[in-house]
């Protein structure tokens, strides 16, 4: 390169920086990469919520492809995805397990499920974030995709919508099911 064009170098550098920022700033700083992808579900064991006989623990997830959904009655976005989870249950698409995270009291979670319906195969009560921390959860709702061997394969942060399910999440379930 001729020295005559050296004056362009800072411009090129600044343009490159600008492009980097353009894309960098569009990323959601709240969306963290999960440290648990392709790792086994950590050991956890949660008590039953009120009115339910059985809690939810790690070994419940073995032997099938399943979803683990973090929710709470206080969580607005959980309310948004809830009808879709009910639909998944009604159509027997995939078993969804629930972690009822940090309810203000023992009644709030069960009341919420009574009122809107319970889309979960099992629900664990998680008042002290034991389950949430086991899954490295930062907010609700979050949904984890677990394969037959109990390995976490995918994490979806935020509500599950029909669009996201059809374009992204259902193919993941199918792929995991196709594995031996």
């Amino acid at each position: 390169m001729s020295r005559r064009f050296l004056f362009l170098l800072p411009l090129v550098l600044i343009a490159a920086l600008g492009i980097g920022f353009w894309f960098g700033l569009q990323r959601d700083p709240q969306a963290l990469p999960s440290a648990l992808i392709n790792k086994p579900v950590p050991e956890f064991s949660l008590a039953a919520i009120e009115g339910s006989a059985r809690g939810f623990r790690r070994d419940d997830l073995l032997g099938k492809v399943s979803l683990v959904n973090i929710f709470g009655s206080w969580c607005l976005a959980c309310r948004i995805e809830h009808p879709f989870l009910m639909e998944l249950k009604a159509n027997g698409v995939v078993p969804v397990y629930g972690i009822n995270w940090r309810e203000p009291d023992r009644q709030a979670g069960p009341e919420w499920l009574d009122k809107f319906g319970n889309p979960y195969r099992l629900v664990g009560d998680d008042p002290r974030s034991e389950g949430a921390i086991a899954f490295g959860v930062t907010g609700a709702p979050e949904t984890f995709f677990v394969d037959r061997k109990g390995i976490i394969r995918y994490k979806h942060a935020g509500p599950i919508t029909r669009d996201i399910w059809e374009s992204k999440l259902w193919p993941i379930v199918q792929r995991l099911r196709a594995e031996s």
């Binding site: 963290l32 990469p33 440290a35 002290r128 949430a132």
Partner: protein
């Protein structure tokens, strides 16, 4: 006039007081609730030190020691639980990192993926210095040859 302190000294006093306040501030900002505090002061001191290194994943620019978020509180309790159960400091931190990744460490570890983070600023300053040096050398040479 003589009984009043010189302006310079007044400013010095003011700066000293401000520095003292600034020194106090970080420690008074912690969010640990009384019922969380461990009975054993040595355990509690270790828990505090560990908590200051861990990022609150909800608020992100605070440590869990500083944050009032519910999840930060539960993480503080977990850190204390593990200390009481006999974990070493490194084991407690490794446990939290295994759940949340290196992101929870307010001081990221030096390794392949974070090398740019650690070396980048130093490298940029060095490149700038080299560019400056070469520029002034050339300017010096040109001035010399022009002066001849």
């Amino acid at each position: 006039m003589a009984d009043r302190p010189a302006p310079a000294r007044r400013i010095l006093v003011l700066l000293t007081v401000l520095a003292g306040l600034a020194g106090l501030a970080p420690d008074s900002a912690h969010a640990v609730l009384p019922e969380e505090v461990l009975a054993d002061p040595a355990h509690e001191a270790r828990a505090r030190a560990i908590s200051r290194e861990l990022r609150c994943v909800v608020c992100q620019n605070q440590s869990i020691d500083d944050s009032d978020a519910d999840l930060a509180r539960d993480l503080r309790v977990l850190v204390r639980q593990r200390i009481v159960e006999g974990d070493s400091d490194d084991e407690v931190i490794a446990y939290v990192v295994s759940r949340y990744g290196d992101f929870v460490l307010l001081r990221p570890p030096v390794k392949g993926a974070t090398l740019v983070l650690w070396i980048g600023p130093v490298a940029i300053v060095l490149i700038g210095l080299l560019a400056l040096i070469s520029y002034f050398r050339r300017a010096g040479r040109e001035a010399e040859s022009a002066g001849r």
